[in-house]
Assembly symmetry: C2
Homo-oligomer: 390 residues x 2
């Protein structure tokens, strides 16, 4: 059995449906990973996630390394056992948070010297250390430590990051193979994926993709996106990288995005996603709901459930939704919970937005399967009033 099987290719775009056979079950693609930063998808249980159809979640290496520590999680039998999540886990390398959260001290060929944000403890993140942590966590998909430029993109810095990412990738592969064959890894079925860098430079994305391809990873992530660049540059980065990666391997788009972004990226061949949007925005009362275009096509918009206009609406958040909140509660009640700062409000909102995203991925897979993904692609846009110019 192939690690990744393509089930159906769209005739009008690069979209496809498939299955990644991980060591903790199948992941049906295109797929969206809910974010479980610190070993918990904020406010919801593993049982709920599984019930809603989640097949993989993303956990953050940096956060778990800092607390409770990868050695403790290894002792507990790995992250699956520690948090009691029996399906697949995707981990990043820790590099992104070292740049965004930690106080970076210096970076050289060896790795990144930084101080943890919580206690100021100094630590060195190297390609090898990232592998050691991720194998201690025992995720199903782990990533190489990469170097990437911030936005706005500068050519010289981007070129440097591409070359360093290549050298770090080689070191990561060597260390990963050593651990998997000589140590006692908690997840012997763990897979290491490469990361393509190159910002929005066509030749650099090509070069990085070819470098990763040379290392024969079972899958790839498109990195260096969702760092502040406009949507069109993000999609361009995908366009530049894709032709140089094997069609038959799964591709993950790191940190993306809105439902619109996801549909667009799927049409370019991306198979999986992760993003804090549904969970983070839920915590601020921003809820994704279904909407129709003028010609009756499926689309979506967002509402801020905290607004006074919902105080006396005795109907569900989204009558098309099958999440727990929409099946059991009215808008007026959820608004009341937010007004009172009651945690059940955040919980219901989080459940709703995750279900919205998981349902979206199901709609995408069905659209590809039944040959109307081109129609979905043309119409699936955010129809919230202040974003209609999109």
């Amino acid at each position: 059995m192939e690690y990744f099987e393509i089930i159906k290719k769209d005739e009008h775009s690069c979209a496809r449906t498939g299955v990644i056979h991980t060591a903790h079950g199948d992941v049906h693609t295109p797929y969206f990973n809910p974010i479980g930063t610190k070993g918990t998808v904020k406010s919801v249980t593993s049982e709920e996630l599984k019930f809603w159809g989640a097949e993989m979640i993303l956990a953050n290496t940096y956060h778990l390394w800092q607390r409770p520590g990868d050695a403790l999680i290894y002792k507990a039998g790995g992250l699956h056992k520690f948090m009691n999540w029996k399906q697949a886990i995707f981990t990043d390398s820790g590099g992104y948070q070292v740049f965004s959260l930690a106080r970076m001290r210096s970076m050289d060929e060896k790795g990144v010297l930084f101080r943890f944000d919580l206690d100021g403890r100094e630590a060195l993140l190297t390609p090898e250390r990232s592998m050691q942590i991720q194998t201690n966590l025992g995720s199903d998909v782990c990533l190489i430590l990469d170097d990437f430029p911030g936005y706005p993109f500068e050519r010289k810095r981007t070129e440097e990051s591409v070359e360093r990412t290549k050298r770090w990738a080689e070191r990561a592969v060597t260390e990963f193979m050593r651990i998997m064959t000589k140590d006692n890894p908690v997840n012997p079925g763990q897979k290491l994926w490469g990361i393509v860098q190159g910002a929005s430079f066509e030749d650099l994305r090509k070069r990085s993709a070819e470098q990763m391809r040379a290392l024969d990873f079972p899958g790839y992530a498109i990195g260096g996106v969702a760092v502040g660049e406009p949507t069109d540059q993000m999609l361009q980065a995908v366009d530049y990288a894709m032709p140089h990666l094997e069609e038959e391997k799964p591709k993950h788009l790191l940190g993306v995005g809105t439902p619109y972004d996801i549909v667009q990226a799927v049409s370019r061949g991306c198979d999986s996603f992760d993003c804090v949007i549904p969970t983070r925005e839920a915590r601020h009362g921003k809820l994704y709901i279904s909407d129709k275009t003028a010609n009756g096509k499926d689309s979506y918009k967002t509402i801020d459930i905290r607004k006074a206009e919902f105080a006396e609406q005795f109907t569900p958040v989204d009558t098309d939704c099958d999440c727990y909140g929409c099946l059991n509660h009215i808008r007026a009640y959820i608004r009341h919970l937010f007004a009172c700062d009651e945690s059940l409000g955040i919980r219901l909102a989080t459940m709703h937005n995750i279900k919205f995203y998981l349902n979206l991925m199901g709609k995408i897979r069905t659209a590809i399967q039944y040959d109307y993904f081109d129609d979905m692609l043309a119409n699936y846009k955010d129809r919230t009033e202040d974003t209609l110019e999109l």
Copy 2:
């Protein structure tokens, strides 16, 4: 069918098992009401509460009056519909929070003039207004507005409170009957219970009990307890009131208490309870777990899951517990969630403590049914190290 049926009387104490037939289902007594202050038992859903066996919850009139307002809840079809809780609801009169939370302005025979804590809005709580609010909420058991002294108890003030509570009770009954017969109440099966005051004065408890009895309420609450007095004074208040209330009517002990308090009060004839202890303490990581006495009898203690000693304990919080957290998660993980301030930690802790209390009530009912409640009464004490002198 009687409103309250006694199923089994204990031979060695005043304990008994029974059923209150409310308009929203049966409540098996002795029973503990989880606290749903603002129309939500903090962090848990109605579905979960029902699954764990909750048959009634307590909601606070003061909080819901303040926000979202009883008029809005009436429009939504009552509190059961507003919060989607299909079992029974018990409401207090609002009086307790007017004293504890609001800025009281003045109190006279008419009622209590105060300012709401959230917005400083001035409002008058009268015996009639409390009835109007509680019938708008449509709870299954509602209470008269009472007047009660704080601790330490003073005889003159207590006597005054007993007499005022009697006069207010008469006004409450008149208004309640008017609403139930002339208005359009959301819950036509709602019942109004009286409240016995009298602090720890034997003759005043007797007088108040007789006054309430004269009004022929279908049930009574013992009030003016859990206001700061020692446990023995609280139990004494129960002892003083009980002989003067009809044996065949249900009695609720307001705001009590620890598992120890509850077992003691059950032996004195109390049928139902409400207390913030299990939910409030859960939010601070204090968890109730089963324990055994030296001679192998069932008992309990508490642990603070935030302590370092639990960091590497890969076993459930309580191996005797059947809550979601104990069946699915390890102490090390729940400690990690608390260390990271992750709301799932509070949620799992809340579920655990509520389940502990509901299971305790089940154990009490079984002990009465099978004639070993005297044994339970003798041994069921808090065995937490720093409380063993109890």
